[in-house]
Subunit: 679 residues, 2 copies
Amino acid sequence: MSVVPPLGGIPEGVRRLGRIPVLDVEPTVRHGELPAKSVVHEQFVIRAKVFREGHDAVNATAVLTDPDGGDHYFPMRIDNPGLSAWSATVVADRPGWWSYRVEAWSDPYATWAHDAGIKIGADIDVELMCAEGVRVLDRFRRAVAGQDADTGALDRAIDALEDTGRSVVERYSLAVSDEIRGLHRVIPLRELVSPSATYPLLVERERALYGAWYEIFPRSEGAYFDAQQGHWVSGTLRTAADRLPAIARMGFDVVYLTPVHPIGTTARKGRNNTLVAGPDDPGSPYAIGSPDGGHDSIHRDLGTFDDFDFFVEQARGNGLEVAMDLALQASPDHPWVTTHPELFTTRADGTIAYAENPPKKYQDIYPLNFDNDPASAYAEVRRVIQVWLDHGVRIFRVDNPHTKPVAFWQWLIADVAKGYPETIWLAEAFTKPAMMRALAEVGFQQSYTYYAWRNTRWELEEYGRELAGDSAAYMRPSFWPTTHDILTPYMQYGGPTGWKVRAAVAAMMSPTYGIYSGYELHEHVARPGAEEQIDNEKYEYKDRQWYLYEPGGPLEGQSLSWYLRRLNDIRRWHPALRWMRNLTFHTADDENVMVFSKSRVIDYTTGERDTVLVVANLDPHATRETTVHLDLEAMGMATWSTFEAHDHMTNQTWQWRADNFVRLGPDNEPVHIIHVRSH
Amino acid sequence: MSVVPPLGGIPEGVRRLGRIPVLDVEPTVRHGELPAKSVVHEQFVIRAKVFREGHDAVNATAVLTDPDGGDHYFPMRIDNPGLSAWSATVVADRPGWWSYRVEAWSDPYATWAHDAGIKIGADIDVELMCAEGVRVLDRFRRAVAGQDADTGALDRAIDALEDTGRSVVERYSLAVSDEIRGLHRVIPLRELVSPSATYPLLVERERALYGAWYEIFPRSEGAYFDAQQGHWVSGTLRTAADRLPAIARMGFDVVYLTPVHPIGTTARKGRNNTLVAGPDDPGSPYAIGSPDGGHDSIHRDLGTFDDFDFFVEQARGNGLEVAMDLALQASPDHPWVTTHPELFTTRADGTIAYAENPPKKYQDIYPLNFDNDPASAYAEVRRVIQVWLDHGVRIFRVDNPHTKPVAFWQWLIADVAKGYPETIWLAEAFTKPAMMRALAEVGFQQSYTYYAWRNTRWELEEYGRELAGDSAAYMRPSFWPTTHDILTPYMQYGGPTGWKVRAAVAAMMSPTYGIYSGYELHEHVARPGAEEQIDNEKYEYKDRQWYLYEPGGPLEGQSLSWYLRRLNDIRRWHPALRWMRNLTFHTADDENVMVFSKSRVIDYTTGERDTVLVVANLDPHATRETTVHLDLEAMGMATWSTFEAHDHMTNQTWQWRADNFVRLGPDNEPVHIIHVRSH
């Protein structure tokens, strides 16, 4: 671009627009102040408003810059001329800090082809237009030169345009041949190239977006009540490791352990969150710290670091990653109380402030204070994290991150990523939208969501569209039908059918979902007055006696483990289920029946797609018959297509089209999970 | 704030969040890359999402920084706790480059007052809470010290909190007295203060937002057909100046002149845009340039620069500003063709490219090319602008700015503002939304709008909400019911009633609106096949014989000039009409009846408001009776209020309340313009 005069008289920092405006570039997070997110090989769409003065043709290219500075070019196409809206589907093929920009450019070849087509057709200025064509194609030829492309078609077209002996139609046709247009698509003649700002893009490993989680309290796995001695015997990391093959057989990818650290005794909570613990109550693993140690230690009942290493090794051998719980709070018995008093708040009477929500007091917990001495607090937490990194942990599930400064998380996640960029952090922040969003934006790879409280079709559709839409640039959802803290009325009263529905919708709609141990057994009884389980595992051991449900066992067939396995198998078979952004909702006449699909091109050469279509009756109490109406184009088919619909849940196959009858509910299966096989 | 460790491992430019997050700050334009706009004394609302970890109280302040670097503090209030949404109404009191930020802060006084209120009420930790209160109030006292405020109440409260001999209720009450809360509102104890980014704010003179424009073709004012000689005699700048008192009497603020430059003869257009001009056809003033000169010259028929100066002087004497037309294009006879050939595009055959929209040719116009030599092109246009600045022009109406590079306008407007910051540019860009928005964002103070094509209630409501909403940060609308290029079907067929409606809605809804000369005379006949007037003034003289409509004249009473005057008088009487952001729509049962109000606090001490309520029957063909339903709270009244409704159009006064009967239409006046006088 030629030199233009400097822009004076306005404050520094005010942006100067380029020769051709490029605005509203997406996906961005805080306008590029924070990185947009993707995972390796995940397709996403870059959008921008691109427009120019006058009538000449404009065009645009999306440019991804890889961590080594290499540029990858993706031609954009115009989606809506009236709104000047352009887009390109792009993909980054390895993890790291990428960036991207949109380059708008003047397209003299398209301008000429358009004008010459009209004028030559109308027999106006024919020789002039041919001469103009020679000028444009010559510039085009020079732009292509040295780029390892065949310019023969350009040479021939220029010769033809100059050859007044040939017919005008032939001269023009050669200049707009498929060959030249194809070349122009790949190596265009770009003039007045005007780049947008450059926006950061953080590409992470696939597990950041996709994975099936299974949560256990390790002390419960292998625990038993010793009737002779009259007390419980804790499970250990070794006995918990015995459970790993079963978790792996159900098809999970991640095993998440609630905290494994020593537990305080001061003001320890008893069963069902009672204020006074019995002598044998093990206490909540979230009241961390005892004279035995704190966040860098392992509860003696669970074992040693050798046992922990053994557990991690066994998990790996079973194809499972281990997720640690990070609950940054202390019991009054935590070593930090003496070694790091600056981590706590001292009150006017000299005592350390425990957790409160006035007038309620939580005297078993000291919250951490990050403001007394941030440098010390940050460093101490970082030291603790390193202990677990050194023992092979690369996934942290963070308890209540919204009770610590957002700026701290941004620092911690970035600091760990310097040495361990594969680390994944899951935010358990069931809180206001602004805080949830900010935590995701500053680095948490995954977020627990409002899924547990989204039960009706319109709620799930609205939420799914949000998560698959703009918010996919910063927040990756994790769907949990239940957790050890959450048992909603739907789950309390939905029966096994409701539990199937909620697991299936979670596993199919969200690339990451999680199951809390015991889900198989439909543990649905709530503590009165609470939306959580009675006899909450936080305060006691649970011996679920899994062996009773095994083949030949007395409770065989009374577990949903086969259903979870089926869901996880389907997730493995279908690459379309690994993404969130490719979610599309369809409709059904019955408002209780939700229909959605995920579709993904798996062969860019043939355009072959993988498509899964889910039809779920969300009413767990009644079988419903209705008609579903499908947006076939969203699944890569023409509107009049028929296709083979293979239901993975029943192994039935039907011929489907845009409108289809379904019957779903408790008397059979409540959810179709259909492999769409187009003809 | 204490030192926190540096943030490593992530690319430069990625933003680090502050101790307390401040996000979604508005109003911003392109996230602060370009300035948000306001005019002197115009109120606008700063919004932000402010939230923090845990339960402690958070608070926020909006800070405006004036051009000299002085900070002006505005306390914010929370509008929606669930959405963490805060706001403050602010105002800048002089023009220039301001900036603003939002400061979030920890509010230990509010935290203590909340917790202590609950705990003391429940008789929990009473002495501890009093001691904590002493600590907080002591910090508060130190924060206030030296700020010229009375700390007596703080001293007394601290004494009371320390005095165990007094009742707990008294001790607590003194610490949360109105006096201390009031002091805290003005000079709060702010801790962990966390500023947002700083966003640019351009404050311009009031005319940038507010003004009534009147457009004339100066050659028509005083033109007459000389029957003896058989040809037209052109009006001049001197005869046009004779029209200024009448324009001023109608109450207009700006007189806008179509181009005054020499007109080309090559391919000159004849009457009604015919391709061949007759020997006496004056040509379009938009085909600029002849051997007499170009954009820096005055058409010899209009007079000299002395005459121009006279016109500007006379306008000023009549309270009118002069707006010049800037149409950056040339006739083939323009001096630039020889002096600045780099301003044009040379084709393959060596000729200069004229305007085209293939297959249509506009051979009377050479478009400018800003890419051959941008430095030269920019400088030459800037030189031309200086000529008119030197002759007192400070408003430019720019013809088709969307046919020139947006980057050029950004430069030109900024460069002129260096020496002449009071200059106002109006963009005549009837084009796609992205381009209109970009032109406004890079500096045009005002924009023609889609108003002419928004005729139904829902169209006007939607557009009005857009213009008064987020887009008010960058685009200031100008509403024109007609222009010399635009005569919509509504105006062709609406009759005088329709012309009243369209003028009234324009003048009341938009702070800036414009009337094209002849509107008074209901010149509504279109050229067949075109949405513009027959015998378009662009191609011929118009002698409107204004004297015939004067009192005692034969056409007295057949002009709408009284209506325009009334509208402009109302605009002067009511400061509420000077703003756009204060627009509120109400409703009516009849979908043809539109109801809106503008309200503005005019005395911050008493809260006194100026409020105008407009009820318009948009159907020009039928009188309609209906009930209007008012949002009284939006006008500063309680929902059950009654008020005195004085109709400025009929001088009638009624007692109104939330629901009122109206009857409007061609048999009387189609629009109520009501002065709301609350009791």
